[in-house]
Each structure stands twice: as structure tokens, then as C-alpha cells.
């Protein structure tokens, strides 16, 4: 039995991702340009939605298929314009509440997204067991883990457990791929 003090000991050193924690503390505020860019994107999406809603065939009356998409998209454009206006006001130096946080680890996020896209393509070709084990181990590394051997062991063990529980126990289809299991 361990004592309560040991129970609450913080994690071992190997889980401290290099350089990540310094950035997570007390960071300078995000650039005021970012919300403006985001606002422009949100507004552009709204314009696309107006166009998509308008191009639905049929009656524009409230009982027709076009009504809701068009009303929602017009409201969207108005609200997006309000958001953009407040972002521009913040950029101009006025005190406006546009919360924005910095992207400190964009390369890692891009790497993780790439890994997940690759997973979507690999799952049916390579099979669930291999692709999911690799996904777990690689994403743990991207998320800052340095104990790769431990991660690999957990990855394989967890994947096998999940595979048998879900495909055999709960009859959820999971592709076998290249492994002759």
C-alpha cells in the first residue's frame, strides 16, 4: 500500500514535454489581427451559406425548403459582421472583448491532423489493429510524451483489448486488414 503522499506525487519527468510547459505559463496576449482574420472567414462562410440556401429549389415561403437555410444564413452574415466589427475595433485599439488565444504549437497540431487523416486512409487497408496502435503511439509522442516504449506497450495492449471487446464482444465491425487474425 502506498501512502497518501505517494499517491499524489506528480508525474515522472519523462512526461514533461520539452519546452511546452514554459509556453503554457503566462503568455503574451494573442495578436489582435487573428480575430479579424477569423471574422473574415466566418463572414465568408456566411456568404457561402446564403448562396447555398438561396440555390435550394422550391418556395421561399416559411413552409418551403428554402426558408430556414436562407433565414439562418442571413442572420449568420449579420452576426458575423458584428463580430468582425468588434474585432476591427479591438485592432484599432478600442477596449472590446474579443477573446483570442495564441496558437503556440501549430506545427504539432498540423502533425496530429495529418496523422489522423492518414489513419482514415489506413484503417481499411492496413487494418484496425496495426493502424490504431500506430495512431496511439504517434499521437502520444506528438502530444509530448517521451516514454515511447511505454506508449508502444499501451498502444498495442489497448488496441487489442478494444478490438476484441468491440468486434467480438459487441459485434461492431472493425477491419482486419493485412493481419490474419
Amino acid at each position: 500500500m502506498s501512502t497518501p503522499q505517494e499517491d499524489v506525487d506528480t508525474s515522472p519527468d519523462d512526461d514533461r514535454p520539452g519546452g511546452l510547459e514554459e509556453l503554457a505559463e503566462e503568455i503574451p496576449p494573442a495578436s489582435p489581427v487573428a480575430p479579424v482574420v477569423f471574422g473574415v472567414i466566418v463572414l465568408a462562410v456566411g456568404v457561402v451559406l446564403v448562396w447555398q440556401g438561396w440555390s435550394v429549389p422550391g418556395d421561399l415561403g416559411p413552409r418551403g425548403a428554402r426558408f430556414m437555410p436562407v433565414v439562418l444564413a442571413v442572420l449568420w452574415v449579420l452576426l458575423a459582421a458584428a463580430y468582425l466589427a468588434s474585432a476591427v475595433a479591438a485592432l484599432a485599439g478600442r477596449h472590446v472583448d474579443t477573446a483570442a488565444e495564441r496558437f503556440d504549437h501549430l506545427p504539432r497540431v498540423v502533425a496530429l491532423v495529418v496523422v489522423l487523416v492518414a489513419y482514415a486512409y489506413a484503417i481499411e487497408v492496413v487494418g484496425y489493429l496495426i493502424s490504431t496502435s500506430v495512431l496511439f503511439a504517434v499521437s502520444a509522442a506528438i502530444l509530448g510524451s517521451r516514454n515511447h516504449i511505454r506508449d508502444a506497450v499501451i498502444a498495442v495492449g489497448l488496441t487489442i483489448a478494444v478490438y476484441y471487446l468491440f468486434s467480438r464482444g459487441l459485434s461492431i465491425y472493425l477491419p482486419m486488414g493485412v493481419l490474419p487474425v
Binding site: 506528480t10 413552409r63 496511439f136
Partner: protein
């Protein structure tokens, strides 16, 4: 039949071995995801939906979901107290006082007053639910399509107005959700809408993809981009003291029972309102206990009343939320919205007819709440060391695990790898929404309620021959719509008053919480 015989029937259903096992599984899973950061009850239920497709009896699935729903609250308080990171916004008050208590070596008392308070409040609220659900259901049978439309508008607007810091951002999130809900073939006319010509999108975007994308994937990407992958520092668990009853001294008990009952009094009515959510009652309870307390100085440094009251309010309001959910089909939190999606999967429409069409299911669900509360009380405190261990899982491993289960849940919806790409895209949007402080819950509510809102609006206008005044000529819908306007203005009221008095106001909107 009286309420009692129906409830007894419900207990009979729950006491089958399978259902008891599912209840136990639900509360355990719920506590686990409540303790863990990054994954909550909404995602967990969404992940399990594909598994429950094959259940012969939906009652078992709902008993498990109810366990998850409740368990997550018990688990969330553990994390708030020991780690000071509230898993959900309704636990913010608990984190404030509970963590302060834990740092002063009173972690056990804080955990106990939270767990026992949750039990007391949950049980009282379930008793109230048992008795008010059917009368409200009867009342709801008189509602017309116009009334339902008004109620849905109220529910969507008030949840959006109360959650988050900005109404503009909240409303954009809500519009995003409703728009996502419209993607696919229109149920009435069969027209493809917002599909960009992709037949893949004709069936619409599955609620499961949306929830997993926004919550599990979005949260993981957000944590990564912000570099928050280090576990926090846990407060130590103090050794048990002699003479304590369930980890609390006589004085703790004396100081806790009042806040428990008052917290229940705050929580349940707020939950029942179709504008619910647990944030407001927990903050009201906290503020009230602080005002009422003689030892005001202790607040902020670990006052047990500040844990007991809000935790009870939190649990009571969660039971209250089930009243509009079961009787009107109106969800007022992300988790409740997922439960609506679950009902729809089993071809059940929550609403006044539910009590007549599937009484066995409803009463089994209500009975399982009583059982679940008892199980959680037994599970929570004795297993505290296990939950402490769970909190020590290294964050990279934890989030890699969340991704693994998220992918599993997404893939198991239809076995189509393209779904993974859609969920990932939604996850990226979820990350940006978090970065720019857009609330997530309105998206889920909008996507799940949106299609129902549209069909009720169409029915109302068909019945009135396209006359919009139908929404203001009936007293019910007129009052409900007026309430929606009030909900919209209310958070700005203190600011307006200060402006009227000519004072400068720091922030425009009153904020009561952020997520879920």
C-alpha cells in the same frame, strides 16, 4: 395506475441482472469520464450510441446513459476538489472552495460533503421528478405546434444567452449548429440542402460525428495547440480522522445539511425550466451561502458550505433537466441533447406521448436514477484512491486514448472512413471555436433541436395558413416568446442599470459559465 405502481414497475425492470449491470457500468464509466479532463458525459454517451444500436430493449441503454449522466457529476467534483480544474462549468464553485479545503488538509471532508450532498440532492430531485413529470406531461398534451416552436426558441436562446461571454459569439455558435442540422435531404420536400452536391451528405451529418468532433477531437487539438499537456498538481488526500462519520466531523455535518437542502431548492426549479443548465443555480447557491455564512472570511479559503450547496444545486438541476427532456422533448444542456439523439435512434420521441407510449421505459429510467445515486455514493468515496490514480494518468497518454476512442466511435457509426475526415474537420472547427471563445454547447443543441424546430414551425404555420400572428395570439406561445426576449436581455441588465446610473461598466455581460 398511480405513480407508485408505475414506479414499482420501473424498479422491477431495473432489478433485472442485465439492467443492474448496465447501471453499474454506466455509473462507473460516468465517474471515470467525470474525473478525466478532456472527455465528458456528452461524448461518452455519443461514443456508446453505435454500440447500443443493437440493444433489443432500449431501457437498458437509457439506464446506462442515466448512470453516465449522473456519474460524471460525482466524478467532476473529485477533479475540482483535488486538481482545481473543474471538468464542467457547473463545478467552478466547487473548485473554488473545495480545492482550498483540500490544500488546507481537508480534502476528505470536501469530497464527502460533495458526494453525500449530491446523493441527498439527487434523491430529493428524483422524488420531485417522479411526481411532477406526469402532470407536466399532461399539460404538454394541450400544447400546439406554435407553443412548441416558441418553447424551442426559448430553450435555444436562453441556453445561448446564459452560456459564454458574448451573445454574438453564442448566437453564431447556435446558428452554426442549426445550419449543420439542416444539412441533407429536407424531410418534407426531399430537397437536398447545403450538401454542395455531395451525395455523401444527403443523410446529413450524424450527431455522433458532431459531438465527438467538437468535444473529443476539438478539445484534444485545443489542449495541444495551447501546450496544456502537463498534469496539474494534485492536492494531498489527508489521512482519515478518528470520530468522523463518513469522513466528516460532527461540525461538518451540521454545516453541510442546510446548504444541501437549499442547494436542492435552487437547483431543481432551474433545471425544470426549459432554460435550464446547472451553472446559474450553482452560482446562486454559492453566492447565497456566502452571504448567509457567519464566517464570511472563510469563503475563498475553503468553506464547507461553499462545496455542499453548489454540489447539491448541480445534482438537483441535472435531475430537473430531465423534466423538460422527458415531458417536452426539450434538452437544455449538451448531454441532454445527446440523450434526445439517443431517443431518436430508438424511434422514440420524448414528449408528452412518451409516458403513454413507452411507460415501461420512462419509469425504468426514473427508477434507475434512485439506484444510480445509491451506487454512486457507494462507489465514490471508498474508491477515492482509484480516482486519484486515474487523475495521475500522463496527459499525452490520456489524450491519445481519447483520440483512439473518438476514432472508434466515429468509425462504428457507419464503418465509413470518410466519417473520420468529417469528424476531424469538425474537430478543427471546434479547436478554433475554443481559441476564439465561441461556446460549444449551443452548436450541439442547435444541431439536434434544429430539425425539430423547423418541422414544428412548418406545422404551426400550416395550421394557421401561413399567418405569423399565431405565435403571439395564443397566450402560451406569447408568454414563452416574451420569456425568450427576457432571457436575451437579462445577462445585460446589470450593465444597462449601471449605464443608466451613469457609471462606467467593466464588462457588459454577466457570465455564469462556459461549457457543457
Amino acid at each position: 395506475m398511480t405513480v407508485f405502481t408505475e414506479l414499482l414497475g420501473g424498479f422491477a425492470t431495473v432489478f433485472s441482472p442485465t439492467n443492474l449491470l448496465l447501471a453499474a457500468l454506466g455509473v462507473t464509466l460516468g465517474t471515470l469520464v467525470g474525473v478525466l479532463p478532456g472527455i465528458g458525459p456528452a461524448v461518452t454517451i455519443a461514443l456508446l450510441l453505435p454500440v447500443t444500436f443493437q440493444f433489443k430493449d432500449p431501457a437498458g441503454a437509457f439506464i446506462m446513459f442515466a448512470g453516465i449522466y449522473y456519474g460524471a457529476m460525482y466524478g467532476g467534483s473529485t477533479t475540482s476538489i483535488l486538481l482545481n480544474t473543474p471538468g464542467e462549468s457547473a463545478s467552478v464553485a466547487t473548485a473554488l472552495e473545495g480545492h482550498a479545503m483540500a490544500r488546507r488538509g481537508r480534502a476528505r471532508a470536501a469530497l464527502a460533503t460533495a458526494a453525500i450532498g449530491s446523493f441527498v440532492a439527487g434523491t430529493i430531485a428524483t422524488v420531485l421528478l417522479t411526481f411532477v413529470a406526469r402532470p407536466i406531461g399532461h399539460l404538454a398534451t394541450t400544447f400546439t405546434a406554435a407553443d412548441y416552436t416558441a418553447l424551442m426558441v426559448l430553450s435555444l436562446v436562453s441556453v445561448t444567452a446564459l452560456v459564454g461571454r458574448s451573445i454574438v459569439r453564442g448566437m453564431l455558435a447556435l446558428l452554426f449548429g442549426i445550419t449543420l442540422g439542416l444539412v441533407g435531404l429536407d424531410a418534407l420536400s426531399g430537397q437536398a440542402r447545403l450538401t454542395f452536391g455531395q451525395p455523401l451528405l444527403y443523410d446529413g451529418i450524424s450527431d455522433v460525428l458532431l459531438i465527438i468532433g467538437l468535444f473529443a477531437i476539438g478539445e484534444t487539438l485545443y489542449v495541444l495547440i495551447r501546450g496544456r499537456t502537463r498534469p496539474g498538481v494534485l492536492a494531498p488526500l489527508d489521512p482519515p480522522r478518528k470520530g468522523d462519520i463518513f469522513w466528516m466531523s460532527r461540525q461538518d455535518w451540521r454545516r453541510s445539511w442546510g446548504p444541501w437542502l437549499r442547494g436542492t431548492g435552487f437547483g431543481f426549479p432551474f433545471g425544470v425550466l426549459p432554460a435550464g443548465g446547472a451553472e446559474l443555480p450553482t452560482f446562486l447557491s454559492y453566492t447565497y451561502e456566502r452571504k448567509r455564512s457567519r464566517g464570511k472570511d472563510e469563503f475563498g479559503k475553503g468553506a464547507i458550505e461553499g462545496v455542499a450547496g453548489p454540489e447539491a444545486a448541480n445534482n438537483a438541476s441535472f435531475s430537473g433537466v430531465l423534466v423538460p427532456l422527458l415531458t417536452l422533448g426539450l434538452p437544455t444542456s449538451a448531454t441532454a441533447a445527446v440523450l434526445i439523439a439517443a431517443f431518436q435512434i430508438f424511434n422514440l420521441q420524448p414528449g408528452p406521448q412518451l409516458f403513454d407510449k413507452s411507460p415501461d421505459l420512462v419509469w425504468a429510467l426514473i427508477a434507475s436514477l434512485y439506484i444510480g445515486n445509491v451506487m454512486l455514493l457507494l462507489l465514490n468515496l471508498p474508491l477515492i484512491r482509484l480516482w486519484v490514480k486515474v487523475l495521475q494518468i500522463p496527459r499525452p497518454v490520456l489524450y491519445a486514448g481519447i483520440l483512439l476512442f473518438a476514432m472508434l466511435g466515429v468509425y462504428s457509426v457507419s464503418g465509413n472512413p470518410t466519417d473520420i475526415l468529417i469528424a476531424l474537420a469538425i474537430g478543427v472547427v471546434g479547436m478554433f471555436m475554443r481559441l476564439y471563445d465561441f461556446p460549444i454547447a449551443p452548436v450541439i443543441l442547435g444541431a439536434i433541436l434544429g430539425p425539430t424546430l423547423e418541422s414544428q414551425l412548418r406545422r404551426a404555420l400550416t395550421a394557421s395558413n401561413g399567418d405569423w400572428t399565431v405565435f403571439v395570439t395564443r397566450p402560451t406561445s406569447a408568454i414563452v416568446l416574451a420569456l425568450a426576449v427576457v432571457a436575451f436581455v437579462l445577462p445585460y441588465l446589470p450593465w444597462l442599470i449601471r449605464r443608466a446610473r451613469g457609471e462606467r461598466a467593466e464588462t457588459a455581460k454577466v457570465t455564469v459559465g462556459t461549457e457543457d
